[in-house]
């Protein structure tokens, strides 16, 4: 299974934000990997810390955020302790990022051409303006835009959501990064446009061997795109493994509940949907035991007291739950 070399290894990541209302434990303990030429998905509801983990890797946390523990080793180098200067050299050239709302991710005061050439030249001063303009047009064409010259000359406000996202992907890939982090890139787009962007990302993976860390809350997108999946809740990884393991042999109660709650096209509306009761985790005072305990249907005494360790079920399938024993099988 893991013949691909591991590109990014995140171990025990802990991120907290200092707010006037107290310290928010956005990420308690997150560990996941991204292999070369593979798409790793992080799935979770809002407030589960999935986006925060990605921002922490590139040091893009908000002013009051801090990565307190853990490591993010990228091709042998730990990114967390790096200073702003080294991180700046990595951003864009080795790891790039695309964001959720494409319309607001572009600077309204600059034309697309000026934006793309500046991104290219900020990494490599030797590239001339003309060369940068040419490579930008070449990249836009690769993104499936049929009239790149016009796009280069207009302002972001004149472009549609799908078009802006293609420009953002072009900008991200301009300097040939190894890893692309996508933070819910298609959530704000219509379903038909989302399909175009997902196919584009799949093409990048298959044709150019691009490895992607894909963050989303939509299980359909995960099934469509990802090879490995990590399910997050309340800042902790509940379960991670390959797509087949998660979809067909999920062991963690949270994953199972989420999969049952996903509205599927083929089921008619007779029986009510499986609903998960309860309210979101209070990240300022996280529960002592398992974060999912208050909402977990099979919650036991032990769950409320002790935080479960991540048990390895073999073949890369791990889960953090007291009912899951090493080496597979569920101990009831």
């Amino acid at each position: 299974m893991n013949e691909h070399e591991i590109l990014l290894e995140v171990r025990g990541l802990k991120v907290s934000f200092h707010t006037p209302r107290g310290i928010v434990q956005a990420v308690g303990d997150a560990s996941f990997q991204v292999r070369r030429g593979e798409v790793t998905g992080i799935v979770g509801e809002s407030g589960s810390g999935k986006s925060v983990s990605a921002y922490a890797i590139l040091g893009l946390l908000a002013g009051n955020g801090k990565a307190e523990a853990g490591s993010a080793v990228f091709r042998g180098r730990d990114l967390l302790p790096l200073g702003e200067k080294e991180l700046r050299r990595i951003r864009g050239s080795e790891i790039s990022m695309i964001f959720q709302d494409p319309m607001t991710a572009l600077d309204p005061a600059f034309t697309i051409g000026k934006f793309l050439t500046e991104v290219l030249r900020s990494h490599d001063r030797t590239v001339s303006r003309r060369e940068a303009w040419r490579r930008s047009i070449q990249m836009l064409t690769a993104m499936g835009i049929r009239t790149p010259e016009d796009v280069m000359r207009c302002y972001p406000e004149a472009l549609s959501g799908g078009m802006c996202q293609r420009v953002m992907i072009a900008a991200a890939l301009l300097c040939g990064p190894q890893l692309l982090i996508a933070d819910e890139p298609t959530t704000a787009l219509d379903v038909t446009i989302q399909e175009e962007i997902l196919s584009l990302l799949l093409q990048l993976k298959e044709k150019q061997g691009m490895s992607i860390l894909f963050i989303t809350h939509d299980f359909g997108v995960v099934a469509r795109l990802c090879d490995r999946v990590a399910v997050m809740y309340g800042g902790y990884i509940m379960e991670s493994g390959s797509v087949e393991q998660i979809f067909h042999s999920a062991v963690h109660p949270y994953t199972q509940a989420l999969l049952r709650a996903v509205p599927r096209l083929e089921d008619d509306g007779d029986e009510p949907m499986e609903a998960l009761a309860g309210d979101p985790v209070d990240l300022i005072h996280p529960p002592q035991g398992c974060v999912f305990a208050p909402r977990c249907p099979q919650c036991s005494e032990e769950c409320l007291l002790k935080r479960p360790l991540t048990a390895d079920l073999g073949d890369g399938h791990t889960a953090a739950c007291h009912f899951v024993r090493e080496g597979g099988g569920i101990h009831v």
Partner: protein, 317 residues
């Protein structure tokens, strides 16, 4: 099942912002009926006019022309809508945006009765809000909170309680679950379905997510550029979609199962620069349609019945 609401040839155009620009044809000659206790699903991309249609039916947005029959009386002719307003309600997409940030939950829910029956006593209001909150699954302690102290799912329950306060018969649900997380989505949908069976409500359920609409509605209408392109019973529409846009919509929805989710990567390359203005004449979907013929670009195809209860507006019929 008697007919509750019938809408005929509803039209709503927004004047162009820039001088000489094209006026935006948000709702373009739409007709449909909703029976008692039935849910009509309305699916479409953003900007296809589904929200405008939802608001026009309640005359929150004044439609340009058309007739809206509620139990036989035409709402367009009525000057004072206050009486009817009790029976027709709406719930919005953004949970935090649709609740007054400086109002207590208790006052938000009791706003309806306070408007209509001036002389209702505090004690009665207290009892009514308590009952409504229990009905939508909110614990009584939240009555004294501000909306900002509640989670998204709870805020949406407050919106539902507010709509139920006047015992409505018809509720427009405008993207009610789109802003919620997966687990709260199913909680709210189950709540809506329970209320429908309990109170005999009928819904106009608007969403961009066909899977959610398929689950909750009996009949589904697919809308594109201000017009109904296909109307059919839910299962029929999913299994035998006819209109090219509906088929494209069904094909684009990612299936949450790795085995059959792995379709090819035919990246449909983007069209010309910028948001193309829907063509003024002929079928609005002609530019993006693979099977578009010359005739499609001339006259707009009307909604024709291609199978019992299955209507489609396409030139290829």
């Amino acid at each position: 099942m008697s007919e509750l609401l019938r809408v005929e040839e509803l039209i709503k155009h927004f004047p162009a912002k820039k001088r000489g620009g094209l006026s935006v044809r948000a709702v373009n000659d739409v007709s449909f009926t909703v029976n008692e206790g039935e849910t009509l699903g309305l699916v479409g991309e953003s900007g296809c006019g589904k929200s405008t249609l939802g608001r026009s039916v309640l005359r929150l947005v004044e439609p340009d022309s058309g007739r809206i029959f509620y139990r036989g009386t035409d709402l367009m002719k009525m000057r004072d809508l206050r009486k009817v307003r009790e029976k027709l309600q709406i719930i919005f997409q953004n949970p935090s945006g649709s609740l007054d940030p400086r109002m207590l939950v208790r006052d938000i829910i009791s706003e309806g009765p306070r408007i209509h029956h001036r002389n209702v006593s505090r004690q009665e209001l207290q009892e009514l809000t308590g009952r409504l909150m229990r009905e939508v699954g909110l614990s009584a302690e939240y009555a004294e909170c501000y909306p900002s102290e509640l989670s998204g799912g709870q805020q949406q329950r407050v919106s539902i309680a507010r709509a139920l306060a006047l015992d409505p018969e018809f509720i427009v649900c405008d993207e009610v679950v789109s802003a919620l997380d997966l687990s709260y989505q199913s909680q709210i949908i189950n709540l809506l379905e329970a209320l429908q069976t309990e109170r005999g409500l009928s819904y106009l359920f608007i969403s961009h997510d066909l899977a959610v609409v398929r689950h909750i509605s009996r009949r589904i209408a697919v809308m594109y550029a201000g017009r109904f392109v296909e109307v059919a019973e839910a299962g029929e529409l999913v299994k035998h979609a006819f209109h090219p846009y509906t088929r494209l919509l069904l094909r684009s929805i990612p299936i949450p199962d790795p085995q059959c989710g792995r379709r090819g990567t035919a990246a449909i390359s983007a069209g010309s620069v910028g948001i193309g203005q829907a063509p003024q004449t002929g079928c609005a979907f002609a530019d993006r349609c693979k099977w578009a013929r010359a005739s499609c670009r001339e006259e707009e195809p009307p909604l024709r019945e291609i199978a019992p209860g299955h209507f489609a507006a396409c030139g290829l019929v």
